[in-house]
C-alpha cells in the first residue's frame, strides 16, 4: 500500500502553497502564451538571480531584490528592442543570460547562507513558518488585480491597436503585465525555483489553448491542470523520493501531452479520425 502523502502537515502546507502560486501562474500563462511572450517568463525568471544576491548583500528583502531585477530585465529588453535593429527574442536572450551569468559570478564570489539549488530548483517541502500566509496574501492580491484587468489584458494581447483607439493606456497596461510576471516569478521562486517556474508560466496556458476555443475555458483548464500537477507532483516526489519541482513539472508536461494527443478539435487522434472519415 502507498502512504497518503497528505497525511503529513508539511506536505499539506506545500500543497496549499503550490495551489496558490499555480493558480496565479496559470492565469498569467494564458496571457503570455496568447501575447507570444513565453520567452519573457523565461527571461525574467533567470534575471532575478543577481537581484537576489545583491539584495542579500545589501541587507534588503531578497524577494524585493528579485522583483527589481526581473523588472530591470523586462524594461531593459524593451528599451533595447525599441532602439536597435535586433529582434525581441534575441534581445531577451542577450539580456537574461547576461543577468543570469552576472548573478552566478556574484554568487560564487560572495559568502552567503543562500542555497543556490534552492533558488534554482525551489524547496517547497522546506517552507519557512509564515510562508503559507505570505503566499496566500500576495497571490490573492495578484489574482484580484488579474480579475479586475482580465478583459483589458485580453484586449491588449488580441488587438493593442483597438485598445488604443478606445483610449486605453496600453503602455501602462503592458508594464502592469510585466510587473505581474515578475511578481509571479518571485512568488514561485522559493517553492519551485527560477529554472522551473517558466514551465508554470507556459505549459498550463498551452494546455488550455489546445483544449478550448474560448478564453474563459482556456483559463479554467489551465488552472485545473496546475492543481492536478501540484497534487500529483508532490505525491510522486514523496513516493519516489525525487525532486519535487521536477515531478510537478513532469506531471504538467504529461497533461499537456495528453491534451495534444487526445484533445477534441486540435487533438492529434481526433484529427486522424476526421481525415479517415
Amino acid at each position: 500500500m502507498m502512504e497518503n502523502p497528505y497525511a503529513h502537515d508539511f506536505l499539506r502546507e506545500a500543497l496549499w502553497v503550490g495551489w496558490i502560486i499555480g493558480t496565479v501562474c496559470a492565469v498569467l500563462s494564458c496571457y503570455l502564451v496568447l501575447k507570444g511572450w513565453s520567452l519573457m517568463g523565461d527571461a525574467i525568471s533567470h534575471a532575478v538571480l543577481p537581484g537576489v544576491v545583491l539584495a542579500y548583500l545589501a541587507g534588503l528583502p531578497i524577494l524585493f531584490g528579485a522583483f527589481v531585477a526581473g523588472m530591470v530585465c523586462a524594461l531593459l529588453s524593451g528599451y533595447l528592442k525599441a532602439n536597435s535593429r535586433i529582434k525581441e527574442d534575441a534581445v531577451l536572450g542577450i539580456v537574461f543570460t547576461g543577468l543570469f551569468a552576472f548573478g552566478l559570478v556574484l554568487f560564487s564570489k560572495t559568502a552567503t547562507t543562500l542555497h543556490l539549488d534552492h533558488i534554482l530548483f525551489g524547496n517547497i517541502l522546506g517552507l519557512e513558518p509564515g510562508q503559507v500566509e505570505r503566499t496566500l496574501w500576495t497571490g490573492g492580491l495578484m489574482l484580484l488585480i488579474l480579475v479586475f484587468l482580465r478583459r483589458d489584458l485580453l484586449l491588449l494581447c488580441f488587438d493593442p491597436l483597438h485598445a488604443r483607439s478606445l483610449g486605453m493606456r496600453t503602455q501602462i497596461l503592458t508594464h502592469v503585465l510585466l510587473a505581474l510576471i515578475a511578481a509571479a516569478v518571485v512568488l514561485s521562486m522559493e517553492a519551485v525555483g527560477i529554472l522551473l517556474v517558466v514551465a508554470m508560466l507556459i505549459t498550463p496556458g498551452c494546455t488550455g489553448f489546445l483544449l478550448s476555443p474560448r478564453f474563459e475555458w482556456m483559463m479554467l483548464i489551465a488552472v485545473a491542470s496546475t492543481w492536478v500537477a501540484f497534487t500529483l507532483g508532490i505525491a510522486f516526489s514523496f513516493w519516489l523520493n525525487a525532486s519535487t519541482s521536477a515531478c510537478i513539472v513532469l506531471v504538467q508536461s504529461g497533461i499537456f501531452a495528453g491534451a495534444w494527443l487526445l484533445g477534441p478539435r486540435h487533438g492529434l487522434l481526433w484529427r486522424r479520425q476526421v481525415q479517415r472519415v
Binding site: P160, L166, P213
Partner: protein
C-alpha cells in the same frame, strides 16, 4: 456614469504630420488633409506609402514627430476616450487562432461604453446583436474567429466598429480577399454610415471600386500628393504619379469607338475613358 460621446459634428484635420520610426525611416512627411462629416474617403498609394502609419497616428498609436491630428476639434486622446474613433485592422495583422468567439470580438467594441470591469449591460448586448445582424453574421456569432471565411472575417471587425458607435471609422484594406457580394454588403453599410454623418477613411488597392462609393480621395506616397473630390483627384495622371510606374496599365485599342485606359494595382481594375476621366464605374458582376 454616462457614456462619453462626441456631440459636435465629426471632422478630421491632419496637419503637417511627420512620422519617423525608431529605425530612422520616415514613413510620412508633412502630411495634411481634412475631412468633414458625411464622407467616405479613399486612401490610395503603393505598399509602404504610409497608409497604415497615417491610421496609426490618427489613433495615437504612433506619436508624430511633427504636426497634429484633431478629431471633432479634440486631440487624439480625448477623441478616442469619447469613443470617437474605430479601427478595422488589416487582416494580416489579426491573430486568427486567438481563442475568442465572433461575439466576443464585437463586444470588445463596447468596452469604451462600459465601466472599468468591462461588464456588459443589456444595451451593450443589444448593440452587439444589431451590429452582427447588420453585417449578416448573427448565425455565426458562436464561432471561433479562425473558423470563418475571408469575407466573414472582414465583417467581424466591421461589426465591432458598428457596435462601438464611433463617428470616425478607419478601415485598413477592407476589400482584399473579399468576393463581390461581400464587397457590396460592405459598401452598402459604409454608405448608410455616411448618410448618418460618419467619416470613413478607407485604405485600398481596389482602384476600381473607389469611384463607386468614395466621394473623397487622398493620394499618398510618404507625403500627400493630392486630396479632393473623386472626380477631381482620381485621374489617370494623378494615379500614374502616385504609383510611379508600379501600376499595371494598358489601353484597349481593340475597343471600337473609344480607347479606354485600364489601370490596376493588382485588384479590381479602374477603367478610364477619354481624357483620363472616370467613365465606367465597372460593374463588378461583369468582370
Amino acid at each position: 456614469m454616462t457614456t462619453p460621446c462626441i456631440s459636435t459634428p465629426m471632422s478630421l484635420r491632419v496637419e503637417g504630420v511627420t512620422v519617423t520610426y525608431p529605425n530612422g525611416h520616415t514613413a510620412l512627411k508633412d502630411a495634411s488633409f481634412s475631412l468633414e462629416a458625411g464622407s467616405i474617403c479613399a486612401m490610395v498609394g503603393v505598399n509602404g506609402s504610409g497608409k497604415s502609419t497615417l491610421f496609426k497616428s490618427i489613433m495615437g498609436f504612433v506619436e508624430p514627430q511633427k504636426g497634429s491630428v484633431r478629431i471633432a476639434g479634440l486631440g487624439v486622446k480625448e477623441a478616442c476616450r469619447a469613443n470617437g474613433v474605430a479601427y478595422v485592422p488589416q487582416s494580416e495583422e489579426v491573430d486568427w487562432s486567438f481563442p475568442v468567439l465572433v461575439r466576443d470580438v464585437v463586444m470588445m467594441g463596447r468596452y469604451g461604453h462600459m465601466n472599468a470591469l468591462r461588464i456588459s449591460r443589456r444595451a451593450d448586448r443589444e448593440a452587439v446583436r444589431q451590429a452582427l445582424k447588420r453585417v449578416g453574421l448573427l448565425e455565426l456569432q458562436e464561432r471561433q474567429i479562425g473558423e470563418l471565411s475571408g469575407g466573414q472575417k472582414k465583417r467581424v471587425f466591421l461589426a465591432r466598429a458598428l457596435a462601438q458607435e464611433a463617428k470616425l471609422i478607419l478601415l485598413d484594406e477592407p476589400f482584399t480577399g473579399v468576393d463581390v457580394t461581400t464587397e457590396h454588403t460592405i459598401i452598402g453599410l459604409l454608405r448608410e454610415l455616411r448618410e448618418a454623418g460618419h467619416i470613413i477613411l478607407v485604405s485600398t488597392h481596389n482602384l476600381g471600386s473607389v469611384p463607386e462609393f468614395c466621394d473623397q480621395v487622398v493620394l499618398i506616397n510618404r507625403r500627400i500628393l493630392a486630396q479632393g473630390t473623386t472626380s477631381e483627384v482620381f485621374t489617370a495622371e494623378n494615379l500614374l504619379q502616385a504609383f510611379g510606374g508600379k501600376l499595371r496599365h494598358f489601353r484597349l485599342d481593340d475597343a471600337p469607338g473609344s480607347n479606354p485606359l485600364v489601370l490596376t494595382d493588382d485588384e479590381r481594375p479602374l477603367v478610364l475613358g477619354h481624357g483620363g476621366k472616370v467613365e465606367d464605374k465597372g460593374d463588378p458582376s461583369e468582370s
